[in-house]
Symmetry: C4
Subunit: 215 residues, 4 copies
C-alpha cells in the first residue's frame, strides 16, 4: 500500500498552503510553529494536516499527511503529523469545520496569558467582528475562550472539546501562552477568521497600553 493523495481535496490543499504562506509572512508561524489542516472526508473523518516540526516557509502540498479520527497517518501514509493533530480532529468533529488553522502570534500569546485565569475575554464594538461567521453587527459581543495549555494532548483535546460543547458557534479559541485555533467551513473562511482574530487581538492588546482593558 502506498499513499494516494486525495485529489478531491487538492484545491483546498493548495488554498491551505497559500494560507500557510501568508501566515508565515505575518510572523504567526515563527520557528516551526503553527499547524494547519483541511478535512478530506467526514465518514470516515480524514484530514490533511501539516507535518510535525516543519519550517512553514518550505512547505509543499505533498508534505501534508492524511490522518484519521485517531490523528494517526492513514493506511499507506508514513511520516509524522503535527503533534497537535488530535486538536484538529477535536475541532473538526465538534464544529463540522472544513479547515482548521493554528498560529502563534505575539498578541495572541500575550492575551492568552493575560486572560488564562479568567477563562477568556469579550470583544465588542468593532466592525471587524463581522468578519466572523454569524456576527452581523459591531454591537454583537463575542467571547474568546482561553483554555489552559498542556503538553498532554489527550488532556488538552478534552479541554477543547468541553469548551466547544459548552459554547455554540465559536470560530476560534486561544490556548494560554500558546496561540490561536481558528476554523471555518473551508480554507477561505478559516483564513478570514484567522486574520480577523489576529486583527482584533492586536487592537485589544494595543488598547491595553492606551487605557485599562479588563476584557
Amino acid at each position: 500500500v502506498t499513499k494516494t493523495f486525495p485529489e478531491t481535496a487538492r484545491a483546498e490543499a493548495e488554498a491551505l498552503l497559500r494560507c500557510v504562506a501568508r501566515a508565515r509572512s505575518r510572523g504567526w508561524c515563527e520557528g516551526t510553529g503553527g499547524n494547519f489542516s483541511v478535512v478530506v472526508s467526514r465518514k470516515p473523518l480524514q484530514l490533511l494536516v501539516t507535518p510535525s516540526g516543519a519550517d512553514k516557509a518550505d512547505l509543499r502540498t505533498q508534505d501534508l499527511l492524511l490522518v484519521g479520527a485517531d490523528a494517526a497517518p492513514a493506511e499507506g501514509w508514513s511520516g509524522r503529523p503535527s503533534d497537535e493533530a488530535p486538536l484538529h480532529v477535536a475541532v473538526a468533529e465538534r464544529t463540522g469545520a472544513g479547515a482548521i488553522v493554528h498560529t502563534h502570534s505575539v498578541w495572541g500569546t500575550l492575551l492568552g496569558e493575560r486572560f488564562g485565569a479568567s477563562g477568556g475575554f469579550r470583544i465588542r464594538g468593532y466592525e471587524m467582528l463581522k468578519g466572523l461567521a454569524g456576527v452581523r453587527s459591531h454591537e454583537q459581543e463575542i467571547f474568546v475562550p482561553v483554555v489552559a495549555n498542556s503538553q498532554d494532548m489527550a488532556e488538552l483535546g478534552a479541554a477543547v472539546r468541553r469548551e466547544l460543547a459548552a459554547r455554540a458557534g465559536l470560530a476560534g479559541l486561544l490556548i494560554a501562552g500558546h496561540g490561536l485555533y481558528a476554523w471555518g467551513a473551508g480554507v477561505a473562511e478559516a483564513r478570514r477568521h484567522l486574520e480577523i482574530f489576529e486583527f482584533l487581538f492586536e487592537v485589544v492588546g494595543r488598547r491595553a497600553s492606551l487605557e485599562p482593558f479588563t476584557g
Copy 2:
C-alpha cells in the same frame, strides 16, 4: 444585455487594484475588510466598486462592479457590490472625488473608538499633513471627524453626508471602531491620502503611549 467594462476607466481601475494590493500588504484589509471605488462618470454617476466579501489578495480588475447612484449594479451587471457602496456614492456626490478608499487599520480602529464620543480629533504640527490636498504647512491644523458606526447603510450614509456638508475640504473621515474613508481627485491622490492618514494615525496612537494625547 451583458456587462461592458467602461474602457475609459481602465487605467484608473488598474491603478485602484494596485492601491488595493498595497493596502492589503499593509494589513489594512484583513479578512475581507475594506472596499474601494473609482468614479467612471458623473452624469449619470457611475462607480466601479469592489465586490462584497472579497479577499483583497485575489482581486482582479474584472471583479469590480459598475454601480449607479443607487449603489445597485448597472444594467447588464450582476454580482453583489460591497455593502458599503452607498457610502462611496455619498462621498462621490458630496465631494466630487474620483476615487474612494475604505480601510480597516489597527490605529484607525483605536482612534475612531477613542474619539467617537467627541466627534473627532485634531492633528497639527506634522510635515506629513502636507500630503493632504490643500494643506500647505505643518502648522495647518486638520480635524478628523469620527462618525458613529451603524449597520444601517441609510443611517450611516446620512451621517456621512451631514459631516461632508458641514465641513468643506475634507480628505477623509473615520467611522468609530470601524475604519477610514479617504478620497481624492483620482486613485493617486486617494492612495496618497490613505497613506498620509494611516501614517498620522500611527503617530498619534503611539504618541498617546508616550504622553497624554487629548486630540
Copy 3:
C-alpha cells in the same frame, strides 16, 4: 539643449533607486514623502535629485532631475525637483556627502517632536551606533540635532547650515515633526546611516514606553 543623463553617476543613481525602494517598503516614504539625491559633480556642484510629489513606489532612474547649487534644474532639464532640494544642496556643500536621503518615519516624527524644544537628544550604549561613520564603540555618545521645521526653504536651509557648521562629523539630523536627513560618502553609506538612525529611533522610542527617557 536637451537633458543628458550624467553617465558617470549611473551606478550611484541605480543604487539610489534601490535605496528608495527599500525605504518605501519600510514605510518611511508614505504618500509622496521623502526625497533622495546623489552628488554628480563637485565643481560645479550638481546633484541628481528625486522629483517633487512623486510616489516613491513608481520611481525610475530617468525620473531623477539634475540640479545645480541653486537647486534649480540644470540647463536642458525640465521638471520640478523636490521642494527640499535646497536642503540637499546645503548638506552636500557643508559635509561633502556624496548621497543624501530624507525620510519620514513614525519614530523619527515622534522623537523630532519630543526633542524639538531642547534642540536634540543623545544616544549612547548601543552597538548599532558603530554603523555610523566615525563611531568606534557603543560607549561613544552621539547627538542627534533637531532643527525646527519651516515651510520657508531659505530659513530651513540656513538652520541646517548653522547646525552643520556647529557640529563636525554629523551623519544625520532630524527636522521636528518632519523627518530625518542622513547622508554618506556614497549611497551605500547614506543607506547604512538611514537604517542605523531609524533602528536607533525605534529603540529609543520604544524604550520611552518601558521607562522614562530624557535624551
Copy 4:
C-alpha cells in the same frame, strides 16, 4: 594557493544565505549589522563566516570567508571576515554548534540593555519555548544570559566562553545593547532558535508595557 570553496558545506552555506535574507527582511540586520556562520570541519575547526561590513541584502554564497580557530582567513583566502568571527569560533568550540547566527533586533537590544546589570532574565510559560532544542514543555523555564558588551573581542570572547562553560544546553545569549547570538546543530536549527528567541523577546518586551516585568 587560491581559495577553494568547501563543497561539502555548499548546501549548508546556501541555507545560511536564505537564513540571512530572512533575517534581513525582518529588520534584524539593519545597516551592515549581524553576522552568520556555518561550521565546515571540526578538526581542524573551520567555519564559513560572513564578511565584515557587508550589506546583508546583497550577500552571495561566494562572499563567505573560510576561517580557522584563530578567526583569520584560511590559507588561500583573502578578504576580511566579520570582526566578531572570534565569537563564532568561541560558540562553535564550546557548544559543538554547526551554525551560528548573530542579529540586532530592537527588542533584543532593549532587553539586553534592561537586564545587563542582572546578568540575564528568565522566560517561562510559553509554548514557543519548545522551539528551543531540549525544551519539552511551556513550563520549563529558560534563562537568557546577558553578557556585557565590549569592543575588545578577546575580552568579549572570554566572557562568552565563561557563560557557555557555566551553563549547559544554551541555545543563545544576548550581548547587552548589542544583540543575540543563537546557534544550532545546523542552519535549520539555528534559524529556528533565532526566530524563537526573537518571538519571545517581542512577547516579553510588549508584556512589559502591559504590566510590570521583572525577568
